[in-house]
Amino acid sequence: MQAYIIRRLLALVPTLFLASVIVFVTVRLIPGDIIDMMLSQNDVSASKLSRDQLVEALGLHRPMWNQYLRWAGAILLHGDFGRSLWQNEPVSDYLLARLPVTFELGIMSLAVALVVAIPIGMYSAIRQDTSGDYVARSFSILMLSVPSFWIGTMVMVFPSIWWGWSPEVKFVAFSADPLQSLKQMLIPAVILGTALSAVTMRMTRTMMLEVLRQDYIRTAWAKGLSERLVVLRHALRNALIPVVTLIGLYAPLLIGGAVILEQIFVIPGMGLLLLDAVNQRDYPIITGVFLVLGVSITLINLAVDLSYGLLDPKVRYR
């Protein structure tokens, strides 16, 4: 187990290195001149930066490998992501303020997804190939196909027309008022969660079907246990272990979905930070958000992989 953890941590190094290269290359190497983009924004004239000063500030006059090493080195050694081009504040301050907000939304959505998906998936499996199963499966694909920004838009528009009610868009931080904060994130979390529940539902169903054919389930039936006990105690607990891996699979979907919903419901998380930075062409922020999201997802996946062994004693780490 320990050897496995060490090996996984070592394998993390190349992945993180490649991820940082992807981030760096995407922002710096793609055709299209960052400087021209920034100069075409009108705020540049206000900030009185000339082209040369901008090149100097971004360090673009140095060779590419040198730029990468400086950039990666500053982050690794000092946690320094550079400064925002317009506000001149450290990017790390923004990231620290915004990351928990997106995590809160993500965790709530995940909870919603599991609460919706597991009972339906379970039902679908024990009533396999009935009309109920068919409806549940079609419904799950439907949820996968409805764009969350459309639902979000309708939630903003229709209740306000019919009942004069609209979701609260004045943001409350979790640390300031936990209940109010959770309440406010409930609607986007439900929208994001139901979309994701489709995948969990299918996974729960597949796993349940597999487990229900096992010998120990037949034994449980044979010794006369009630359906309730067989399904809940013997089948479900074994079927749910692989579902945990989905959490790792979800991480990119949760964060990607959060970007759009944060925009609709004006939640100041990483998504809104990214979009604002894109609109202002604030490249240090864009690079920082990009990197932090990628690294978070890699770490979440690692945590999921490691916890797998704790949940399932049958798993042997090689």
Partner: protein, 296 residues
């Protein structure tokens, strides 16, 4: 795996397609119906300019914000543009972006998947680490970052989406290649000294075709959804192009409270098309590639 590579004549191939369609309609009625919707969507997209009663940006100030009626089935927007015609033209944009980006994505997936899966060894290891790193970024975030550098526009979106989904999808092709690689006919070809390129082209590729077809179909849906999300954020095809995502955002948004039908039509079009594509892809997968059943 019902066909030997390179031995089917044109006549057998037609018969094969016909019997496949029969199976599709008999065994997967819902999937087949969704396939029909998918084909309809393609036709509407191709013929949009001839079907649509109005031009996509035909402004008619007298008819602004008209609710749905016989003349304007989906109502009109704040500039008096017919929403029905705009949705039809939106279908055209979705078809163009969906088909070209999905083709590019499939091509990239096949190239990476076949090379990485067949050659194995160090190349495979390196490529897979790269794919790992790539997949740890949310699609939408990569898209936003890339568009922030290259600027919004149709060609950029097609290329970015194609690369994005192509790299992610290579895993599916790779795993199919890994199982095909061990078949007797591949070993036979290797032992008579066939070149790697020939083996890949004549033996591996034809036998991973079923997952490739399924991958393409599901990618069309994914591309359309991603493009609409990007357009919704104002980073897709710039207005006044009538993209379905774009119609739900921007100036249209402020008028939705007066004309709620503005919020309905584009979203419905999107949902129906993506749902049909996904269901069709699912049915194809069940028929063509039973090993992938239930995985997604």
């Amino acid at each position: 795996m019902h066909s030997e590579p390179g031995v089917l004549g044109p006549a057998t191939r037609t018969a094969c397609v016909r019997s496949f369609l029969q199976r599709l309609f008999r065994e997967k009625p819902l999937g087949a119906a969704c396939g029909v919707v998918f084909v309809l969507f393609l036709l509407v997209g191709i013929c949009a300019q001839w079907i649509a009663p109005f031009g996509m940006n035909e402004i008619n100030p007298i008819n602004r914000l008209k609710p749905p009626s016989w003349q304007f089935p989906f109502g009109t927007d704040n500039l008096g543009r017919d929403m029905f015609s705009r949705c039809l033209h939106g279908a055209q944009l979705s078809v163009i972006i969906g088909i070209s980006a999905a083709s590019l994505a499939t091509l990239i997936s096949v190239l990476i998947g076949i090379v990485s899966g067949y050659l194995g060894g160090k190349i495979d290891l390196f490529v897979q680490r790269f794919v790992d790193a790539w997949m740890s970024f949310p699609d939408l975030v990569i898209l936003i970052v890339v568009v922030s550098v290259v600027g919004p526009g149709m060609p950029q979106i097609i290329v970015t989406l194609g690369m994005l989904l192509g790299i992610a999808g290579s895993r599916i092709i790779r795993s199919a290649v890994l199982s095909v690689r061990e078949h007797m006919y591949v070993h036979a070809a290797q032992s008579i000294g066939a070149s790697t390129v020939r083996i890949l082209w004549r033996h591996i590729l034809p036998n991973v075709l079923p997952p490739v077809i399924v991958l393409f179909t599901t990618r069309v849906g994914a591309v359309i959804l991603a493009e609409s999300g990007l357009s919704f954020l104002g980073l897709g095809v710039p207005p006044p192009a009538p993209t379905w995502g774009g119609m739900l955002s921007g100036t249209g948004r402020t008028f939705m409270f007066q004309g709620p039908w503005l919020a309905l039509a584009p979203g419905l079009c999107l949902t129906i098309v993506v749902y049909a594509t996904n269901m069709f892809g699912d049915a194809l997968r069940d028929l063509l590639d039973p090993r992938m059943r239930g995985s997604r």
